[in-house]
Symmetry: C2
Subunit: 173 residues, 2 copies
Amino acid sequence: VNATAASLIGLLESCGGSLTGADLVRTAETVIGDFWSLTRSQVYRELASLAADGLLAAGPPGPREARPYTVTAVGRDAFLAWLAADPPAETIRFPLLLVVGFGRHLPPGRLADMLSAAEAVHRKRLGGYRELDARLAREGADAFQRATLSFGVHYEEAVLRWFAELPAEVRDA
Amino acid sequence: VNATAASLIGLLESCGGSLTGADLVRTAETVIGDFWSLTRSQVYRELASLAADGLLAAGPPGPREARPYTVTAVGRDAFLAWLAADPPAETIRFPLLLVVGFGRHLPPGRLADMLSAAEAVHRKRLGGYRELDARLAREGADAFQRATLSFGVHYEEAVLRWFAELPAEVRDA
DNA sequence: TGGAGCATGTAATGAGTTACATGATTGG
DNA sequence: CCAATCATGTAACTCATTACATGCTCCA
């Protein structure tokens, strides 16, 4: 029961009923996509694997072989066990930092371009997070979900601060 | 030429001469390990692949089949091309955030334990980064390398701020 | 009704992790 | 010189990404 599989069970639990693969792809993307990326292929693989192990039950296939999945009692227990275990440390893989680290090999101006492009992306993401947070606050959403969003806000603010504080030596290399 | 392979070439470039697989594992761990994890197996696989493609040249095997690798002209060009290309976005996978998001399924107190354990880890990491930064500043190290370290500092500060600002509803769930 | 475009699911490739085997090294 | 321990390299496996095929759907 890895983190991706457990998350799928958790999303099925939260949504009460049964969801198909594509439903789960969409749901996962919006709910946990900002700090736990996953692709269609992963979802289908995990669903098949979980169903084979009896943690999920597959309903009758609908259009285009779409099977709705529901959580079994065994699956629920496995999810709760995963949830209560000590979570491993986060992993960050930030290609831009590699580029910055090797920055002295770049032609003049190139790094500045990359940095301002990245800065724009992060500025936009921060705006989106803040907007979403305001909406969730209005709607009185789950405090746990808002806490994950809050991480996103803090993270993006940190990235932007980092950009802002880069020495000219680096920024205009 | 993926990011891991390119980084290995870059490290070989920076170190001037030729390094063996184990040397590169060590170097990579200390220089880029904080934002680009890689394992021995990856290193050896990439080295073999890069040598097969002529981007690296393998020297004569020393003790225990250890071959020293050096960068070829082709390899250097490939590295520079990778470096100048637009870097893809970072990926973050933070298991603790998954757990927080599903926090309402946790027994009372469990989340608080996880959070304080994680907080201790991040506090320690921040301390280590600051110490290292002070040393690099004294030694007048490469500004680009210090910039990557600065990211680490900003990131850890953000994580700690996030912890500190979590509502009691979440922290003491 | 038919075909363009899109959504869903699958297969093949690539990257990352874990676990293992074997050869050095060092201290007794 | 022998044995315990550690370092180095390899292989098997899991996870993730990319590219593909096929079947809906919706509008002309």
